[in-house]
Symmetry: C2
């Protein structure tokens, strides 16, 4: 095979674009940025992806697929619901450790400027996340590894919102420790340790 493997180039384009969108946003990167970094021309990119919108769609589809696979892996390997939740937080920490924002969190901020199919894909991503979280929270209440104040639905929103928001803000100074502290406090609030909850009236 030649050194110009279409699939390989396509994959590298996606890798570079993904990093650029996660760090600079959809409106903050261009074909020129990607081409320069790969030593290609802008025209060459149009061979692999018809336009920026199509590139964006391919980006989010791959991201969503990977994320779903990671969640499936957690479901398959984690011993209980609490461990699944810790694993979920770990996924976010990994992204932040690479000095990136969640791809869909970034796109959510810009959603008013996105091509419609992209906007839909972002919504679907968060819906899938909320569904998974709600199920894990319900599992946790059943297997006794988690306690769920209020509804599982609202708690799922709190978890998702806290993680996305904490990423958004701690990325400003790259303070991974602050993210971890925030996430730990979130997890503590959902942990099924009866003694920790009410320290007031001994």
């Amino acid at each position: 095979m030649p050194d110009t493997d279409p699939a390989a180039t396509r994959s590298r384009v996606l890798d570079v674009s993904e990093r650029l969108v996660q760090t600079r946003g959809y409106n903050g990167f261009s074909y020129g940025d990607v081409a320069r970094e790969l030593g290609l021309t802008r025209a060459a990119l149009h061979y692999h992806f018809a336009g920026k919108a199509e590139l964006g769609q391919a980006l989010i589809e791959r991201y969503a697929t990977r994320f779903a696979a990671a969640l499936a892996r957690l479901d398959a390997t984690a011993p209980d619901a609490a461990a699944k939740l810790r694993g979920y937080v770990g996924l976010y920490a990994d992204v932040l450790a690479a000095d990136r924002m969640c791809l869909c969190g970034m796109l959510a901020a810009e959603h008013r400027t996105l091509p419609e199919p992209l906007r839909r894909a972002v919504c679907d991503f968060f819906t899938a996340n909320t569904v998974w979280l709600r199920r894990v929270l319900e599992e946790g209440c059943a297997d006794g590894s988690l306690r769920c104040p209020g509804t599982a639905e609202a708690t799922a929103s709190v978890v998702l919102g806290t993680l996305e928001g904490a990423m958004l803000i701690t990325r400003l100074d790259g303070d991974l420790a602050r993210f971890t502290a925030t996430a730990d406090q979130l997890l503590d609030g959902l942990a099924a340790v009866p003694d920790r909850a009410a320290p007031a009236h001994a």
Copy 2:
């Protein structure tokens, strides 16, 4: 005075720009957008603000000043720390009700692409918020209106992160009710009602 009052025009430019940045992001709006909406030319805007960077700075300065004033008003009028916290959440709900993202939350997402002075201002905004929240949380533990699991610092991060993150996500479908449910659950978790915390061992 003529109908071309410089201060008035400047103020209207800021109003329109603020809305555009909050909905579309810094990289998603242009002098052209603002000029069109105000019936001016791009060149006219350059009279009021030297460039986009200066406009952005003026924007964030006015926003931060307003926000600080709102916090001071809460300090002055709220009966206790819990009420201050509810008022704080209300500020976010108002922004979301106008179908906007928090200005600084939006800019935080794009921070890698911002002119340096703007980036600094965004950091300062969140620092000020965290400081205020930490103080209110400590007050709440003292006056008995709040309970603070973990450190006040980490809890302040959780509050800030949850609100920014919940805005980011619920804005996708404009579901204000979902934001409210999320925020209420957050507040419940910090409320100083000893009975609610430990429902397990009656």
